[in-house]
Every structure is written in structure tokens, then in C-alpha cells.
């Protein structure tokens, strides 16, 4: 590798996340470069193997499950998809997709709204007790959820809200996921204060500064946070398992469990096909927004 190539590589990146990368290994020979890349390629193959296996397994006819332990289907077919589309427990698969989509979309709206408001308060407003409340917020980041799920269930049961989406969503509208509040705080702290001060001189109060200065500049954090919120809600299993009792309200993960249980003896094909279909929105989001997501993880230092 020549220096020019390296500079080109660095310059070609749009907005390097963490400043210019120190390039080392400059004197490394061609041989070790090849070894490096081979190692990475083998590693990538191992890491992606389960996904490739899943894709190919969905093409195996049911008769091959248990007999064909190789990766490639002997007689590839799309039958599994046709069967899975008919659904389970008399409910078509699209219904579960729709339920998941509704819950995840409403979660995104609530999470972004509540965490942007709280983030602004922590990052920009001076008020009594802000230090201790901020510490409490960070504390909840480290809190194992075990200690709150039972009382929460009792509350929602008391309020007759079991088998609705309210218990799954209300926490998102009240900023209980500290990860997102923290994300917003970090981002808002990096917005130059001069902008606020200029607006304040023009007579703007906090609500106006928040609306017309902070929110527009917060866009990247909102997009990153929104995608994470969507994906985590989409994948969530424990919440829907506890709260959703009627199959027509099920989100995809709990519906998948139905496939898994009811058909574990007979229809592996439908189960793997449903599994792959339910991963597709997540993978699609990642393909489109990967740069933004990875930068979000790298700079916030947090993940799911």
C-alpha cells in the first residue's frame, strides 16, 4: 500500500467519525497483508454462516429436514413461503407483521419525543436537582429489568391493560429507556450554545429554542435513535410474551414461538421461512442506514 492510496482512502470517507485514523502497519509486507485479509474473510464467512444457512434452509422442502444436514437444498422450492403466508392459528402472517409494525412505529414516536425533551432538559436547562436526576437516569441504564417487571405487570393487570399494546408502549412515551435519553443529551451538548444564546437575545424562551433550533439540528440523533428503537421493539420478546394473550394481538416474535411450538415436530420449513421473513425489516434498515448506525454505536459507546 502506498501512502497516496492511504490518503485517498481517508479522504474518500465522508465525515470520519472520530477524526483522522492513524495508519499503522505502513511497512508491512505484501505477504502479511494477504494473511490479514484471508483471516478477515474466513472470519466473515463464519460470522455470516448462520444467516446463509437460514436463507438456504427456507428453500428446503419439509421432507429434507432431518435428512439433509448439508447446506444446499436437494430440491429447492418456495413451498415453505406459500405455507407460512397462510399463517398459524388461523391468523395470516401479515397480521403479525402489521401488529409488529404498529407497535414498533408507535414506539419510535414515543421514544424520540420523550427522550429529546428529557435530553434538552438535562443538557441545556439549569434547574434544582438536575445533577441528582441525571445520575438517577444513568443509574437506570445499569438497572437489570428484573426488579421492575413484576410490579409493572401488577399495575397493568390492575388497570385492565393486559392484552393491549399500552404496557409495551407507555414506557417509551415516558422516556424509561435511558439509552435514548443519554444519546440525546450527548448530541445536544455538542450543539454550540451560541445558537441558543442568539435566539434568547431575540426573545426566544426554552420551548421556542427547543423547537426551532435544537430539534432541526438533532436530526441525525433522531434518525439513529429511531432506527435502534424500531429494531429493539421489533425484536422484543419478553414484553409481548408477558402482556399479549390473544393470538390476533401477537407481534412477530411471539407468533414465531407459535410456529416453533406447534409445528416443531412437523413443519420446520414454515418455521425457518417465518424466521427469515421477520428478520428482513431489521436487515433492510441496517443495509440502508449502516453508516449512521455504526457511527451512533461508536460515538455513544452503547448498543443493544
Amino acid at each position: 500500500m502506498t501512502t497516496i492510496e492511504q490518503e485517498h482512502e481517508t479522504a474518500g470517507r465522508t465525515a470520519p467519525d472520530t477524526g483522522p485514523a492513524p495508519r499503522r502497519g505502513r511497512r508491512r509486507g505484501l505477504a502479511s497483508t494477504i494473511v490479514w485479509y484471508l483471516t478477515l474473510l474466513v472470519l466473515a464467512a463464519v460470522v455470516l454462516y448462520p444467516l446463509v444457512w437460514l436463507v438456504l434452509a427456507t428453500l428446503k422442502p419439509s421432507s429434507e429436514f432431518g435428512r439433509n444436514s448439508g447446506m444446499l437444498p436437494w430440491e429447492p422450492t418456495l413451498d415453505n413461503y406459500a405455507r407460512v403466508w397462510d399463517g398459524i392459528a388461523g391468523i395470516p402472517l401479515w397480521r403479525y407483521f402489521l401488529n409488529s409494525l404498529i407497535v414498533a412505529s408507535l414506539a419510535v414516536v414515543g421514544t424520540l419525543g420523550s427522550s429529546a425533551l428529557a435530553g434538552y432538559a438535562f443538557a441545556r436547562v439549569a434547574f434544582k436537582g438536575s445533577g441528582i436526576l441525571f445520575a438517577a437516569m444513568i443509574g437506570t441504564l445499569l438497572l437489570p429489568f428484573h426488579v421492575i417487571i413484576i410490579p409493572q405487570y401488577i399495575i397493568f393487570n390492575e388497570l385492565d391493560l393486559v392484552d393491549t399494546y399500552v404496557p409495551l408502549l407507555i414506557g417509551k412515551y415516558l422516556g424509561t429507556e435511558a439509552f435514548f435519553v443519554f444519546l440525546m443529551v450527548q448530541f445536544i451538548r455538542n450543539i454550540p450554545r451560541e445558537l441558543d444564546e442568539a435566539a434568547r437575545i431575540d426573545g426566544a424562551g426554552h420551548p421556542r429554542i427547543f423547537r426551532s433550533i435544537i430539534v432541526p439540528l438533532l436530526r441525525p440523533a433522531l434518525v439513529t435513535g429511531g432506527i435502534f428503537s424500531f429494531i429493539w421493539t421489533w425484536n422484543d420478546f419478553l414484553g409481548p410474551l408477558i402482556y399479549l394473550t390473544s393470538p390476533e394481538n401477537y407481534t412477530l416474535p411471539v407468533a414465531l414461538r407459535l410456529y416453533n411450538d406447534a409445528t416443531s415436530t412437523s413443519d420446520h420449513g414454515a418455521t425457518v421461512a417465518a424466521s427469515l421473513l421477520s428478520l428482513i425489516p431489521v436487515l433492510l434498515f441496517f443495509l440502508i442506514f449502516q453508516r449512521l448506525l455504526i457511527r451512533g454505536v461508536a460515538t455513544q459507546g452503547l448498543k443493544g
Binding site: P50, A118, A121, Y153, L174, T176, I242
Partner: protein, 289 residues
């Protein structure tokens, strides 16, 4: 006052859905409660039963600790190793970074648990390839000794998220430090321990803390892989699964609350040990100590 206005939703959530419920579960842990009848105070009865009369709980605590204490360091070691590999190549690192990060997004999903169960079954591809090497295992899920390693492989597979954080940290290490170390005659091993590790120590600490706490919460994958049972020998009966079964299947909510508080205390102790020992190994550049 504006502060409280902006913070209003968060305050309601914090007190109503976090702090309040914490207090309630602390109270419930000293009671017998089945949700239909009012809670009945039994003092330390639940805790005594947990530690003296509940082998299922002790087994569950043991497998959870094994999983957390082995899985987390291995995952972080893998993350750091691959981050260093990626940091030393010039082309294509974006592709590899994305490929390695993908499992972190989907690893906890039910879909992946279904894949894992099939892959590690007796007739699955993992045993299939081991068989060609002459190793006959007969499935990992039902095997008391192999179930935990299977789960550890699942969590290590998700090394991408900490890897991305390490990679960002590695890019911040000034190249002059390595050059200076090299001039002083330090070899690669020496440079790793004397430059890379100290410079990354805040990030390592941060990852270790969060990943450990996160690992205690493993639930969905173990639930799906064992069909909700925690497996016959209890080898997949992680603490969250056991809590779920006691609380939501058996409606022993007081007992489940006691389990929850034991988990909280154990997590707090581990976190405390980490923060205490951090003083001796976590190095903050520019920090005057």
C-alpha cells in the same frame, strides 16, 4: 421551572415505572403473593427458601454466572482482537465492519434462536461438520455440558457492537505512542500491553460493565431454544427464565420478586467490584492523579 416541564414525561416514567415498581418489588420479595389474594408478609422466608430449599434456583444461578463470567470476557476479547485486525487494514474495512456488526442487531431475536437450535441439533450442520472430523456429539441443546458453550458461542457471535466501539477507541490512540514504543525497542506484545490496553482501558471498562449487566438479562434465546422449559437438566434455565416461570407461569410473584432482588444485589456487587478495581487499571489520558 422550564426544566421540570421538559422533564415531565421522564419524571412520570422514572417514578411511576422504575423507582415505584422497584420499591414495590422490594416489598413483595418479603411476601407471598399470587396476584389474586393480598400479599402476605413472610419476612425473609422467600430468601431462605431460595438459598436453602431450592436446588433449581441454585442451579439456575450457577449456569447464569457461568454464562456471564465466561461469555462476556470471551466476547470482549474477540471484539478487541477483530477491532485490531480491522484497524490495520486500509481497504474494505467498511464491509467487514458491517458484516461483523450484523449479529449484534439480530442476535437476541427469536429468529436467530430458532436458527441456533437447528444448527446445534444432533442432525444440524454443526454436529454434521464435526462428524466428518470424527467427533460425535449428538446435539448440544439437550447435553448438560454443551448447552452453556452453545449459548456462549451465541453471545460471542455478537461481538460486533463492542468491536465497533473498540475500533473507534483505537483510532484515537496517537500513532506517536506506538512509534515511541518501537524506538524504545518494544515488540508487538509489549506494545499491546503497554500502549493499546492502557489507552483503551476506559472503553474496555465501559464495555465490560454494560456487557456483563446485559448478559444477566439473557432470556429470549434460552426460552426459544429450550421451548420455554430451560431444558430438562436445567442447563438453559437462566435466572431470567426461572424468574419468568415462577412469576408469570406459577404466579408466585413474591418469590419471583425475591429472585429479582437477588439478581440486583449480585449485579450491584459485580459492578461495585469493577468500579473499585477500575482505579488501578483504567487510565484516563490527561487525568491528574
Amino acid at each position: 421551572m422550564a426544566g421540570y416541564g421538559f422533564l415531565a414525561p421522564w419524571l412520570v416514567g422514572f417514578f411511576g415505572l422504575t423507582l415505584g415498581p422497584m420499591a414495590v418489588s422490594l416489598y413483595l420479595s418479603f411476601t407471598r403473593y399470587d396476584i389474586f389474594n393480598p400479599p402476605e408478609w413472610i419476612g425473609f422466608g422467600n430468601f431462605v427458601r431460595l438459598f436453602t430449599d431450592d436446588p433449581v434456583f441454585l442451579r439456575s444461578a450457577k449456569v447464569t454466572l457461568q454464562y456471564v463470567l465466561i461469555g462476556t470476557p470471551v466476547k470482549l476479547a474477540a471484539a478487541l482482537a477483530v477491532a485490531m485486525l480491522l484497524n490495520s487494514i486500509t481497504r474494505g474495512s467498511g464491509f467487514f465492519r458491517s458484516a461483523f456488526y450484523t449479529p449484534s442487531l439480530i442476535g437476541a431475536s427469536v429468529s436467530v434462536a430458532i436458527v441456533w437450535r437447528a444448527m446445534f441439533a444432533g442432525d444440524g450442520p454443526v454436529d454434521g461438520s464435526l462428524r466428518t472430523l470424527g467427533i460425535e456429539l449428538g446435539g448440544w441443546v439437550g447435553d448438560v455440558d454443551l448447552a452453556i458453550p452453545m449459548m456462549i458461542i451465541l453471545v460471542v457471535w455478537q461481538f460486533g457492537a463492542p468491536m465497533v466501539i473498540f475500533l473507534a477507541g483505537l483510532k484515537q490512540v496517537p500513532a506517536e505512542l506506538y512509534e515511541a514504543a518501537e524506538v524504545d525497542g518494544a515488540g508487538p506484545v509489549h506494545r499491546f500491553w503497554k500502549v493499546t490496553v492502557p489507552m483503551l482501558s476506559p472503553v474496555i471498562f465501559f464495555n465490560l460493565l454494560l456487557e456483563t449487566i446485559h448478559a444477566f438479562q439473557v432470556f429470549g434465546s434460552a426460552f426459544i431454544i429450550s421451548n420455554g422449559s430451560g431444558a430438562p437438566g436445567g442447563q438453559l434455565n437462566f435466572i431470567t427464565l426461572y424468574l419468568y416461570k415462577r412469576g408469570f407461569a406459577d404466579l408466585q410473584m413474591g418469590y419471583a420478586a425475591a429472585i429479582a432482588w437477588v439478581v440486583l444485589v449480585v449485579v450491584a456487587i459485580i459492578a461495585l467490584i469493577m468500579f473499585r478495581t477500575a482505579r488501578s487499571w483504567v487510565y484516563y489520558a490527561g487525568d491528574q492523579r
